[in-house]
Subunit: 140 residues, 2 copies
Amino acid sequence: MKLNTKSRYAVMALADMAVFSSNNAVSLRDISLRQGISLLYLEQIFLRLKKNNIVKSVRGINGGYILVKSPKELKISDILLALDQKVKTIGCKKDSKKSCNGKSTKCITHNFWDELDIHINSFFENKKLSDLLKNREARI
Amino acid sequence: MKLNTKSRYAVMALADMAVFSSNNAVSLRDISLRQGISLLYLEQIFLRLKKNNIVKSVRGINGGYILVKSPKELKISDILLALDQKVKTIGCKKDSKKSCNGKSTKCITHNFWDELDIHINSFFENKKLSDLLKNREARI
DNA sequence: AAAAACTTGACTATTTTAGTCGGGTATATA
DNA sequence: TATATACCCGACTAAAATAGTCAAGTTTTT
């Protein structure tokens, strides 16, 4: 089980912004250099962050991106939602359009995966971007 | 983020066994019919469950599989471990053999993913197979 | 003997993932 | 006003993972 790199890099990049923006826009180029993430890939990621109103952009020279909310208010779940389209993580079966086991009732494991889903999502709901920055020994 | 179907089907199949074994071996054919999972696929899954000592097999007519531990003692994490080889779920970067960001220090998000990992794994550690069977409205 | 059921490795089609490419557009500053 | 910087955006692709099948067994009960 893993999150895709888009989500992980998004969290990383936004954390970087939280550290390095001093009311200025932060350019992808700088993030790319500091975090070692491909610039082209970052562009793709920020496109979606922008569409989902996590960041806003400033064009032209000295442009870049700015966090829409403060790190204290930005939930990690908001970030993941912007990239994954779904907070629903795990289901019983692949094709869950039909019922879990092709029958009318819920399958044995149905409630279990629901519980897990809640467990994981509440973690992301309760974490703010600013929480990542506390007590870190690691600086860029 | 999702678990692969092997893991999900394994949990489903073992839950089925917990319900339907009455001290008899349970055949994959029966599980396949009840749960709507391909027999051939179940074979592949049970091979690994057997290797990891989650089930033992009885060959020949009336054969099948038997849970090694009781459902009350069998942790979900044991099952996932048998199929995934790893409980480690998420890291900062794809190639985490090197450090997270190609530098010597830990990256900004490193501790965060570690926390998440613990959060998820403790869920699996604390759930027993028997827990899935409680209060279920859904029967096969 | 025959049938049921486990055993095992190899194989394959499909999907997902990670990431690149190319050709834009906007804007600050010299 | 030229130009460099930086955002914008859809399309594309190579590689890996996934889900599942196939074939050819072996073992054991009846």
